[in-house]
């Protein structure tokens, strides 16, 4: 049985240092929910509070309607996958998978336990190693054992703490697809912690971007990437160039001036932000249009890298800022170093933030975090 998770006004501190001040988040039933953020942002702390391995200094944690704050971790019906897998080295693969079944309050008959373990080992493609000791397994295989062991007890919630960070790049991509697939087929509410934004985008239904113990934005990967709620989210998710700019209201129209003089008329600003102000413009590398002449911001090519599908250009604007531009690689032209170019921007994709970066001024930002905080 899957559950929804509701966390209201969670607080975590160690002694006098406050890690999480006041955090609320609602996770839907059966959803793949990712906590994403730089190291030290409190994401693992929050996960371990849900698991019950960290004490809760304040707030309420609910699985459906059951408050779990004071329930022992062994009784929360969670399945947990650890960063270092935490496979029991003194038990065989099969015994590792069976371990949880043997420790459930209601024990199944032996034959049924075996069948259940067998089923999940097959699901994770580790049935052929059933009798092996963990030391003779590769990292990827150990990860599969850890996942099978967590799922076999049919927990209400699956918690994963940076499960892929110890694997090499290729295996990481392979395993994240496996994890996603299994999660879909089992349909279990999953909370996943990672600092890798690409990984988060690949697996998640929704992502909560965290920084300094606070949730910055909650939303689907696409929403977060395209309409980040603030400057932190914009620069943490994907790559972006930040340019200083200014908004001026002329005849009821918002006119944006970027980096020294290039002007655009913006028609997707929030009504409440329609006043003269200094702003920061976030332009992702692929949102630039590179041209050799015409109107735009003047720039010089510093260097370029050919990456097969794309060309990466590193430019210096005439105002002195360094920017990165990605263009689809063409057969003929590679702009030589030192050549002068003109940059224009895909206006509808731009994100514009107020000067301190705390708000996106553009319409269409989806942030579920706001709703949680009020609830």
């Amino acid at each position: 049985m899957s559950v929804n998770i509701r966390i209201d006004h969670a607080r975590k501190c160690y002694g006098s240092s406050v890690i999480i001040k006041d955090l609320s988040v609602h996770i839907r039933e059966g959803e793949f929910f990712t906590l994403l953020g730089p190291s030290g942002c409190g994401k693992t702390t929050l996960l371990r509070m849900i698991a019950g391995f960290n004490s809760i200094e304040g707030g309420d944690f609910y699985f459906n309607d059951t408050r779990i704050n004071d329930i022992d971790p062994s009784k929360r019906r969670i399945g947990m996958v650890f960063q270092n897998y935490a496979i029991f080295p003194h038990l065989s693969v099969a015994d590792n998978v069976m371990f949880g079944l043997k420790n459930q309050p209601v024990r199944l008959p032996k034959a049924q336990m075996k069948a259940q373990a067998e089923k999940f080992m097959q699901l994770m493609h580790i049935d052929e190693y059933a009798d092996r000791m963990p030391e003779r397994l590769s990292g990827g295989q150990q990860q599969r054992v850890a996942l099978a062991r967590a799922l076999v007890i049919q927990p209400d919630v699956l918690l994963m703490d940076e499960p892929l960070s110890n694997l090499d790049a290729k295996l990481r991509v392979e395993m994240r697809e496996t994890i996603r697939e299994i999660q879909r087929s089992v349909g279990i509410t999953t909370v996943y912690v990672t600092h890798d934004q690409e990984e988060a985008m690949a697996v998640s239904d929704r992502i909560a971007v965290m920084n300094l113990g606070e949730i910055q934005q909650i939303g689907a990967p696409k929403a977060i990437y395209q309409r980040p709620a603030n400057l932190f989210v914009a620069s943490f998710i994907g790559r972006t160039n930040l340019l200083p700019g200014e908004i001026r209201i002329v005849d009821g129209q918002a006119e944006l001036t970027v980096s020294g003089g290039y002007r655009m008329t913006m028609n997707n600003l929030l009504a409440s932000e329609m006043h003269d102000q200094k702003v920061v413009v976030s332009v992702r590398p692929e949102e630039f249009i590179l041209d050799t002449d015409g109107e735009g911001v003047r720039a010089t090519v510093d260097s370029s890298t050919f990456l097969g599908l794309n060309m990466h250009y590193f430019l210096t604007l005439e105002t002195g800022e360094h920017v990165q531009v990605i263009q689809e690689a063409e057969l003929d032209s590679v702009l030589p170093e030192g050549s002068s170019v003109v940059l224009r921007m895909k206006q509808h994709k731009l994100n514009i933030f107020c000067e301190d970066g705390s708000r996106n001024l553009v319409r269409g930002v989806i942030n579920d975090a706001a709703a949680c905080q009020e609830g």
């Binding site: 704050n69 022992d72 062994s74 935490a86 080295p89 420790n103 459930q104």
Partner: protein, 550 residues
């Protein structure tokens, strides 16, 4: 808003252990201190301390002990480090044998060495007689300072060897290669690379050797003759004070603790200056030495181990000689064993096993629990336990005995003369070592393993016993074997606490040595040697990594 949680299992364990320490460590130490400052008239007085520091007969023993300890430490370090260096950096024949023999030497019962050396080179000793009658050579006197240093060094340099070997295994071969790539000759490498890298271990080994030499009581008692060391003085005063108050012995004990505590602090300070961590991906490779070097290296290693083994071999040989009325006759027989078994079967042999096994079981259990509290449940109470657990490390064995006698020979809990007090003393003495090794093992086990078990439905205690403890087993076993051997060969505390009912094998050897029953003493000593050797070999056969933790 803070919620009150019910006491969990580990909190209860914390308090129980704290209670045990209060009763069996803090209270005896307090009683010791109190007794040391009570004069003959029952009033507060520092007369014993005054007497000690004004009479050369007394304070001279402290200097003697220092002389012995410094000499033994220096000699053991030189012999042990050289041995370890040759052993680990060069190809050699019979390495496994050398290693096993070194462990055996370091594990031999402490006073068998002294006894055997006297039997070989003492006034009526076998070799003394043989050489003087055959060649007219007179050996220098084995008694006194020289004898003590030889005997204790023979027993302790193998310890240095084992310690340094462990350290050398942690040095990555690339460090040696880097040094030679930078133009460092093999001779220079030893001093500028290898020795500094081993420094933390060398300091640890030096402390251990110094403490053991300082507290060793049986060796100087047997072979010291007029050269009295501090522990011997404590023992003599204790035995000499026939009345029930042991005030002077208590005062001496307090002085002893202060001295060892000071040494401990100096070593700790020195160690902090040399602390770094290493982990070798590729262990040091051994090299084939040139022919002459090879011969010298082989000669050195086998000679030092041979000399260290000599006393034990000699005692074993002697036990099979014909012996009548304490005098050895030509020819061989098993008479000594017949007589020995008659004497020990009833008491000391069963006592050794019951007292030894009971102590061992409790030591292991307590060490595991305390290690867990210290590593996984760091809080104020457990930090106190951590500190307390290290206190016995610096208390000489005889002092532990005296403190327990003072505390438990009257009042609500009378334990003197019982097996219980022997067990308690052995636990107190052995626990610090076992805790240290258990802590080291536990620190290597990630916490998440236990959390995984809990998330799969185990209670905290069950997770600990079904997952953590089995993972610690291998390490605990190696510690337990060493504990077992030190427990059954312990003498300095037992000699103060034993009664006729609780005599053990070591005490039986000691009494027979004192009574001049050399045949019987040799036979019992050989039996004890056989038990320790068998324990060690059994362990080495079944242990996975063959590492011994001290």
């Amino acid at each position: 808003m803070k919620q009150k949680r019910p006491m969990d299992v580990w909190q209860i364990i914390s308090f129980v252990i704290l209670g045990l320490y209060a009763l069996f460590l803090i209270l005896p130490m307090f009683q010791l201190l109190r007794n040391s400052v009570v004069g003959a008239d029952g009033q507060f007085s520092l007369e014993y301390f005054k007497e000690f520091f004004t009479k050369e007969y007394y304070y001279g023993t402290l200097f003697n002990s220092f002389k012995v300890s410094v000499a033994v430490t220096a000699a053991s370090l030189v012999l042990g480090i050289l041995f370890a260096y040759f052993y680990n950096l060069f190809e050699m024949k019979g390495k496994a044998l050398l290693h096993t023999l070194a462990i055996l030497c370091s594990m031999s019962p402490p006073f068998i060495g002294a006894y055997s050396w006297i039997q070989m080179f003492g006034r009526g000793g076998m070799f003394t007689k043989f050489f003087s009658s055959m060649f007219g050579i007179k050996f220098p006197d084995i008694y006194g300072f020289t004898g003590i240093v030889i005997v204790i060094t023979c027993q302790l340099f193998p310890l240095v060897f084992l310690y340094i070997t462990g350290a050398l295994r942690n040095i990555d071969n690339s460090l040696i290669e880097a040094a030679s790539g930078l133009g460092c000759s093999s001779f220079k490498r030893f001093f500028v690379v290898i020795l500094p890298l081993c420094m933390p271990t060398i300091l640890a080994a030096a402390l251990l050797v110094f403490m053991r030499a300082f507290a060793d009581f049986a060796t100087p008692l047997l072979i010291g003759k007029g050269f009295q060391t501090f522990p011997v003085l404590i023992y003599n005063r204790y035995v000499g004070e026939t009345s029930m108050n042991h005030n002077f012995a208590a005062a001496l004990s307090v002085i002893g603790i202060v001295v060892t505590a000071a040494i401990f602090l100096v070593q700790k300070f020195a160690t902090t200056r040399f602390s770094f961590t290493m982990n070798a991906l590729h262990s040091i490779e051994t090299h084939k030495p040139r022919r002459l070097t090879s011969i010298l290296i082989h000669f050195y290693c086998y000679a030092v181990v041979g000399i260290a083994m000599l006393p034990q071999v000699f005692v074993a040989w002697q036990s099979f000689r014909k012996c009548r009325g304490g005098v050895f006759q030509p020819g061989y027989s098993l008479d000594s064993y017949r007589e020995a078994f008659g004497k020990i079967m009833k008491r000391s042999l069963p006592n050794t096993f019951t007292i030894g096994l009971a102590s061992l079981a409790l030591v292991v259990l307590l060490a595991i629990l305390i290690a867990y509290l210290v590593v996984r449940r760091s809080n104020a109470v457990n930090n106190v336990i951590d500190t307390l657990s290290m206190v016995p490390y610096i208390i000489p064995g005889a002092v532990v005995g005296i403190a327990l006698v003072i505390t438990f020979n009257d009042g609500p809990m009378v334990l003197t003369g019982t097996a219980a007090i022997m067990v308690i003393a052995l636990i107190i003495r052995r626990l610090p070592y076992t805790i240290r090794s258990s802590v080291a093992i536990l620190q290597q086990i990630p916490l998440s393993i236990e959390e995984a078990a809990i998330s799969l439905g185990c209670s905290k205690l069950k997770a600990f016993f079904t997952v953590t403890v089995p993972m610690m087993t291998n390490g605990i076993m190696s510690g337990a074997v060493i504990s077992w051997i030190t427990i059954i060969t312990e003498l300095s505390t037992a000699i103060i606490l034993y009664s006729v009912r609780t005599e053990t094998l070591t005490l039986a050897i000691y009494t027979n040595v004192v009574q001049g029953n050399d045949g019987v003493a040799s036979a019992i000593a050989t039996i004890l040697l056989a038990v320790t050797t068998a324990s060690l070999l059994l362990f080495m056969k079944f242990s996975k990594n063959k590492e011994i933790a001290f």
